[in-house]
C-alpha cells in the first residue's frame, strides 16, 4: 500500500509541478507532508532525507550574490563591456554572451539574466536593432556557463551534494564539452543571425546611433552612487570564495561552509553600506523549500524500492558504460527540455548511486557528468526548460520584445540536439 501511496504522491506532485498548477515549493512541501502523514516516511526519516549541505550552499550563495549585486559591480561590468564594444553589434553579441556564461558559472543563472538582459535590450534596441537574437544567445549561454561549475546550476549543486565532487572536479571534467558546446553555439548563432550582428564599422550612422546609446547608458550609470570601498570588498570576497572553492580539498572544508563564510564575512564587512535584512528577505525561500520537499518526496519513493529496481534494470541490461552514459545524457536532456530539471536530477541521484552499487568495482563517474550535461544543457531546448529562460522571456516581454514558444523552439531545438551530439562525442572520448 505504502508503495502505491509514495508513487502516487510523487507522480501527482510531478505532474502538478510540470503544469505549474500551484507554486512548485507548495506542491513539493505538501507532497513531503503527505509522505509523512500517510506513514511512508517517519518524521525523523523525512528530516534526515533533506540534504542540508545542498540547501546551505544555495542559501550562502544567494546571500553572497545579493550583497555583491547591491554594490553595483555587475552593472559596472556591463557598462564597461558596452563601452568596450564601441557599438559593434558582433562585439556586443560576443562579449555579452561570454559575460553571461562567465557570470552564470559563478552566480545563479536567473540573477545573471536579470542583470544582463535588460541592458542588452536597452543597448540593442536603442541602436535600432532587433534584440531577440541577443536575448536568445544570452539564455543559451546562461545555461552553458551554469553547467561548468558546482555552483552554476541547481542540478550541479544537487549532484555535488550527493557525490562529494569538488568545485574543481566539475571544472576539470566539464570544461572541454562546455567549451566545445559554447563554440558550436556561438558559431551557429553568428551564422544564422549574421544579418543582425554583422559589424557596422563602414556605416557612420549606425556607429553614431550605437555610440549615443552607449554614452546614454554610461551617463545613467554615472548617476548611480557607487561606493568604491563596497566594490573593493565585494571583489575581494568573491575572489577569495572562488579560490576557496578551488582549494577546497586542501582547506578540508565543504562547499557550503565556504559559501556561507563568504556571505557572512561580506555582510559584516559591508554592514554600514548594506542592510542584511534586505539580503535575508531577498533569499529565494521558495526554491529552498522546494528542494527540501523534493528531497523528502524522493526519499519516500526510494522506500518503495522502485528506484533500486530501475538501477538494477539499467545495470543488468548493459555492461557498456558509454551506452549507459548516453542514455543518462539524452534522457536527462530531453526531460529537462520540458520539465523542471531539479526533480528529475533528484530522482536520478539514487538511480545512479544504485547503478554504481550494482556494478561494484566499475568506475561510473562518467554517468554523473552525463547527468550534469544533460540536465543543465537540456534546459536550452524550450522556453520553459530553465528558470533563466522563463525570466529572460518575461523581462523581454515587459520591454516590448515578444519571443514566442515556437519562435524560440524552432531555433533552440536543433541547436540543443547538436549540443547533445557534441556531449555524446565527449563522453565517448572520455571513456575510451
Amino acid at each position: 500500500m505504502e508503495i502505491y501511496l509514495a508513487l502516487g504522491i510523487f507522480a501527482v506532485a510531478f505532474a502538478l509541478i510540470a503544469f505549474e498548477v500551484f507554486d512548485k515549493s507548495l506542491i513539493a512541501l505538501f507532497g513531503a507532508l503527505l509522505m509523512v502523514i500517510l506513514g511512508v516516511l517517519s518524521p525523523e526519516e523525512a528530516i534526515a532525507a533533506i540534504e542540508f549541505e545542498t540547501i546551505l550552499l544555495l542559501l550562502g550563495m544567494m546571500i553572497l550574490v545579493n550583497i555583491a549585486s547591491k554594490s553595483g559591480i555587475f552593472e559596472w561590468l556591463n557598462v564597461k563591456i558596452a563601452a568596450f564594444t564601441k557599438g559593434n553589434p558582433l562585439f556586443i553579441f560576443l562579449f555579452f554572451s561570454i559575460l553571461t556564461a562567465i557570470l552564470s558559472a559563478f552566480l545563479d543563472n536567473v540573477t545573471t539574466v536579470i542583470l544582463i538582459v535588460p541592458l542588452t535590450i536597452q543597448l540593442v534596441r536603442g541602436m535600432g536593432k532587433d534584440p531577440k537574437p541577443y536575448i536568445m544567445a544570452e539564455i543559451f549561454f546562461s545555461n552553458i556557463g551554469g553547467a561548468l561549475t558546482l555552483i552554476g546550476d541547481p542540478p550541479n549543486i544537487i549532484i555535488g551534494g550527493a557525490t562529494g565532487f569538488s568545485f574543481l572536479d566539475f571544472i576539470i571534467n566539464l570544461w572541454i564539452p562546455i567549451l566545445a558546446v559554447a563554440i558550436f553555439t556561438m558559431l551557429v548563432f553568428v551564422i544564422l543571425y549574421w544579418k543582425h550582428i554583422k559589424p557596422i564599422s563602414d556605416d557612420l550612422i549606425e556607429l553614431f546611433t550605437a555610440n549615443i546609446v552607449i554614452k546614454k547608458i554610461k551617463h545613467e550609470f554615472v548617476k548611480k552612487t557607487i561606493h568604491r570601498d563596497f566594490v573593493i570588498k565585494v571583489i575581494a570576497v568573491l575572489a577569495l570564495t572562488i579560490i576557496g572553492f578551488l582549494v577546497q580539498h586542501q582547506l578540508g572544508l565543504p562547499n557550503y561552509v565556504i559559501a556561507f563564510t563568504a556571505a557572512i564575512v561580506l555582510a559584516l564587512m559591508t554592514a554600514k553600506r548594506h542592510n542584511i535584512h534586505e539580503s535575508f528577505s531577498s533569499v529565494e525561500w521558495t526554491t529552498l523549500f522546494f528542494f527540501a520537499g523534493l528531497f523528502i518526496m524522493v526519499a519516500g519513493v526510494e522506500t518503495t524500492g522502485i528506484l533500486e529496481s530501475l538501477s538494477e534494470y539499467v545495470a543488468h541490461s548493459t555492461t557498456d558504460i558509454f551506452f549507459m552514459a548516453l542514455i543518462v545524457l539524452w534522457v536527462s536532456g530531453l526531460v529537462s527540455m520540458i520539465l523542471d530539471n531539479i526533480p528529475f536530477v533528484t530522482v536520478m541521484i539514487p538511480v545512479i548511486m544504485g547503478i554504481q552499487a550494482e556494478l561494484g568495482g566499475s568506475d561510473v563517474t562518467i554517468l554523473w557528468w552525463a547527468l550534469s550535461l544533460g540536465a543543465c544543457l537540456g534546459g536550452n531546448g524550450t522556453i520553459v526548460g530553465a528558470s533563466a529562460n522563463v525570466i529572460s522571456v518575461d523581462i523581454a516581454k515587459k520591454k516590448g520584445v515578444n519571443i514566442t514558444f515556437i519562435e524560440y523552439m524552432k531555433f533552440s531545438l536543433p541547436i540543443t540536439l547538436g549540443i547533445f551530439v557534441i556531449c555524446s562525442v565527449y563522453l565517448f572520448i572520455k571513456i575510451n
Binding site: 564601441k86 557599438g87 559593434n88 536603442g126 535600432g128 564599422s201 563602414d202 556605416d203 557612420l204 550612422i205 556607429l207 553614431f208 546611433t209 550605437a210 555610440n211 549615443i212 546609446v213 552607449i214 554614452k215 546614454k216 551617463h219 545613467e220
Partner: protein, 313 residues
C-alpha cells in the same frame, strides 16, 4: 531615412528630457568622436556622403534641436571646403577627428562664456527661484557660489527627477535651499527677488521652448513685477522658419484611480512656449540682451547662418 529620423527623434527626446539640450549636444559630439574612430570606410568621399545623410537626419528630427543643427552644420561646412577635399587619403580621418574635438572644445567654451556673462546680475543677499531642469542655470549658480556670493535658492517642485537634479546640485554646492510645490508659489511671492530659467531653444517666432510648467510661473512673477531671467546659449537658437507643425508633443495615456475602478485619460505636454518679452534680460554666451535687443540679434543670426535642409516647412 524616415525610419532613421523617427528613431533619432525618439532617442534625442529621451536624452533631452533626461540630461538637457546642452549635455545632449556634448554627448552627441563625444559619440561622434568614438564613431569616427571606429569608422573604417575606404575613402573620405564615403565618409562625407554618410556625414551628409547624418546631417539630414539631425536637421529633420521631431523636434529639431538648434544646438545639434548648429554643431553638425558647422562640421559639414568644414568637410565641404577645398582644404579638406585636398587632404591626402591617409590624413583625412585625423583631421576630421581633430576638428570635431575642437568644436566640442569651442562648444564647452561658449558655455563658460555664458556663465561669465551672468556676472552682470547682482545676486548678493537675494533669493532666487529655480524650476526647470536647466544645467545652465545650475552652472550659473555654481559660478556665483564660487565667486563667494551669498544667496538663497527656492526650488519650485515639478517632476520628481528634475526636482531631484536641482536638489542634488544645490546640496552639493552648499547653497541654502528650500523646496516648494509649483502650485503654492503665490505664498512666497514677496520672498523671491528674481527667477532664473533655462531654455531648450528660441524659435523665429521669438518664443522660447522651455520645460512644461514654466509659462505659468513666469506669468505669475511677471504680474508681481519680479524680474525673470533667461540663460541660454545662442548655439541653441532655431535659425530657420518655424514649421506650422507644433514643437510641443502631447502624451496621452490611460490611468487608473488608485482606489476606485475609474479609468481616465491623462494628458501631458512635452514643453511650454514662452514669448521672449516675458523676460527681463536674456543672458547668453554672446552677451546680455533685453528682449528687443535679442530680437535684433536673432534676426542677424538668421541672415548669417543658412541651414538649407531646415528651411522648408
Amino acid at each position: 531615412m524616415e525610419e532613421k529620423i523617427k528613431h533619432f527623434s525618439q532617442l534625442f527626446r529621451e536624452l533631452e528630457a533626461e540630461i538637457g539640450t546642452q549635455d545632449l549636444a556634448d554627448l552627441l559630439l563625444q559619440a561622434l568622436v568614438v564613431s569616427i574612430k571606429a569608422f573604417k570606410a575606404d575613402d573620405k568621399s564615403s565618409f562625407c556622403d554618410q556625414f551628409n545623410d547624418l546631417v539630414k537626419i539631425i536637421s529633420n528630427t521631431e523636434p529639431r534641436f538648434g544646438i545639434l543643427i548648429y554643431c553638425f552644420f558647422k562640421l559639414r561646412k568644414e568637410f565641404q571646403n577645398g582644404y579638406f577635399q585636398k587632404l591626402p587619403e591617409k590624413k583625412w580621418k585625423r583631421v576630421i577627428l581633430k576638428r570635431v574635438k575642437e568644436i566640442l572644445k569651442e562648444f564647452r567654451q561658449e558655455i563658460k562664456k555664458l556663465v561669465e556673462n551672468s556676472d552682470e546680475i547682482d545676486v548678493d543677499g537675494k533669493t532666487i527661484l529655480i524650476h526647470d531642469n536647466s544645467r545652465t542655470v545650475r552652472n550659473v549658480l555654481a559660478h556665483y557660489k564660487k565667486m563667494g556670493k551669498k544667496f538663497k535658492v527656492v526650488i519650485a517642485e515639478q517632476d520628481y527627477d528634475k526636482t531631484h537634479n536641482n536638489i542634488e546640485r544645490m546640496h552639493k554646492l552648499g547653497v541654502p535651499f528650500q523646496v516648494i510645490p509649483s502650485y503654492m508659489l503665490s505664498h512666497i511671492h514677496d520672498n523671491i527677488d528674481m527667477v532664473f530659467f533655462g531654455g531648450l531653444t528660441l524659435k523665429d517666432t521669438m518664443n522660447f521652448v522651455m520645460n512644461p510648467g514654466t509659462h505659468g510661473i513666469i506669468s505669475e512673477f511677471l504680474v508681481e513685477g519680479t524680474p525673470v531671467y533667461m540663460f541660454i546659449n545662442t548655439t541653441k537658437f532655431s535659425l530657420w522658419k518655424a514649421r506650422k507643425k507644433v514643437d510641443v508633443f502631447m502624451h496621452k495615456h490611460k490611468r487608473a484611480h488608485h482606489t476606485k475602478e475609474i479609468q481616465y485619460e491623462r494628458v501631458k505636454y512635452s514643453h511650454d512656449r514662452v514669448p521672449h518679452t516675458m523676460f527681463e534680460k536674456i543672458i547668453t554666451n554672446r552677451g546680455v540682451f533685453t528682449p528687443d535687443e535679442l530680437k535684433k540679434f536673432f534676426d542677424k543670426m538668421m541672415k548669417k547662418y543658412s541651414y538649407d535642409e531646415v528651411k522648408e516647412g
